[in-house]
Amino acid sequence: MIFTLVSIELYKIFKKWRTYIGFLAFGIFIPILIYGVSVSGNHYQRILQRNIGDQFLIVGNLVNGWYVAFITIQAMIIHIPFFITLVGGDLFAGEGSAGTYRMLLTRPLKRELIVVSKFIAGFIYTFIFVLFFALISTLPSIYFLGVGDLIVPLEKIVVIPSKEILTRFLLAYFSSFISMCVVLSLAGLFSSLVNNAIGPIVGTMAVIVIFLIIGELPFEFFERIAPFLFTKYMTVWLDAFDYPIDWTKIFNSLLILLGHIVLFFAITIFYFRKKDILT
């Protein structure tokens, strides 16, 4: 039965226009970005060389396909969570606002099964979206801009040799997927509480943005709070580009994120199991 339920939920998700907004946005944005980089990449390469040329021996093209992929993966912080919440926020609330709870929940199905199927369908959507994002961020940019070493200009500058880059990106996209599953779970939880998808979408994004801000504030009070905010671990994908890779940190972050998924899922089940459907 769960397979049937998941397939029905997926069918419903992919029959809605809002599901494709994220695909469309990145489908348009990334080719524009690649074009922009390809026409002005040389200028940017000169700036990079000027800034870090005295510290590194730079060989080949730094503004390559991998570099564009690294720029675009920054969207995992805010932009992609927004597109995930568009679907996650609608998982339950969409049924409430459409009145279809009255059809769905009068069937001989335990509500727990419905929650499980909606979450699984949401995770599958998340996986497909992250996969799409990974493919459209890497394949066209590599095709048009070529490959080479990856320069990671964050707190410290890391140069990753080309032979390691694919593994690093695979790890980053996998970690991103887990992070986005947390976003979906939170949106799903909020969605089960109300009957209008706008609230869960805005609510989830508000939580993420506020937690991100709190997590970055350079005051002792907030620094103490930061480890308890799940957003602190959502940027685990950045650790895939560290040198050397801190596997313990990545493993711990993923574990905490998985714990949040389970927590949000469990609260949803607990609440939804006895929810009075009054719409």
């Binding site: 809605k16 459409a98 279809t100 009255r102 059809m103 069937r107 199991r273 006895k274 459907i277």
Partner: protein, 305 residues
């Protein structure tokens, strides 16, 4: 008689408001069971409990002798329901909606089965149209289709004629009668259209303020065996004397209200009474049958206020 649906001391509160209070009712196989009550009486809350959309605070629900609970809903396989106005996935076609909703019952209908049921409710020619293009009446008929597709034994219809035009109401009424008589379904129907219920139900319950007011056979409750007539006559006092001379008891066999006399007795037929009035020189302007469900309902629920 086999009990198909039974509630025992069902109660539900929303914060401090008691929506349903200690409600017990019983529906037998083959019944067309009318579920009546004024607005806010607790009808929808009761139906939502019967279909597990909300759970009672107290009391129990048995469907085909199986208790309905959050952890035991399998008995709903034998139930088809429309709760308030049926809503569907507007972005899907009528066909796809029915297919999905049937699969939630655990069976995958064939195309023929879906087309048959769409034909039954008069929507076969719109099978491939998205539901967002449907009128209210069409959605109502699609609602009936989804309630029947898995061939349930008990059908719960909550205000199935709401928003329909007279032709649509007639169609739904005929459909309910056909489901009961031709297909042997047990039907639990709530409606604020008392005339509709009077025409189709054999048993009924009236609730008010969440409590049962009366339950029984429609025929018994409306005293349908008794003649119920209203006479409008030229001389009301003379008419009263005539009735008393015929051994009819005021207040029991007849009541007087301004220029009307309501007769409720089997002692004399309306035509004989009409003849007698005319023979005694009393003009009869009109006489017509009385004691509708509406009157009974108003009488009984007014008494509760």
């Amino acid at each position: 008689m086999e009990v198909v649906l039974e509630t025992k001391n069902l109660s539900k509160k929303f914060k401090k408001i008691t929506a349903v209070d200690n409600l017990s009712l019983c529906v037998y196989r083959g019944d067309v069971f009318g579920f009546l009550g004024p607005n806010g009486a607790g009808k929808s809350t009761t139906i939502r409990m019967l279909t597990s959309l909300i759970y009672p605070d107290e009391g129990e629900i048995f469907i085909f002798n199986k208790k309905l609970s959050p952890s035991s809903k399998s008995v709903l396989k034998k139930v088809g329901a429309i709760v308030e106005s049926p809503d569907f996935y507007l972005y899907l076609t009528a066909y796809k909606n029915l297919e999905i909703l049937a699969r939630l019952y655990g069976f995958t209908p064939t195309k023929n089965q879906i087309m048959e049921i769409l034909d039954f409710v008069g929507l076969a020619n719109r099978w491939n149209s998205k539901v967002k293009t449907f009128s209210h009446g069409m959605k109502q008929r699609l609602g009936i289709a989804q309630a029947l597709l898995h061939n349930p034994e008990l059908i719960i219809l909550d205000e199935p004629t709401t928003g329909l035009d007279p032709q649509g109401m007639k169609e739904i009424r005929e459909l309910v009668i056909s489901l009961s008589k031709d297909k042997g379904k047990t039907i639990f129907i709530s409606s604020h259209l008392l005339h509709e219920v009077e025409l189709i139900a054999n048993r009924m319950i009236i609730i008010n303020k969440g409590q049962k007011v009366v339950e029984g056979y429609v025929k018994d409750l409306l005293d349908k065996d008794k003649a119920q007539y209203v006479f409008q006559v030229s001389n009301i006092d003379e008419a009263k004397n005539v009735l008393v001379s015929m051994n009819l008891i005021p207040g029991e066999d007849f009541r007087i209200n301004q220029n009307e006399i309501t007769i409720s007795t089997k002692k004399v037929s309306a035509t004989d009474l009409n003849k007698t009035f005319v023979q005694k020189g009393i003009d009869v302007f009109a006489f017509y049958p009385r004691r509708t469900l509406e009157e009974y309902f108003l009488e009984i629920t007014h008494g509760q206020k």
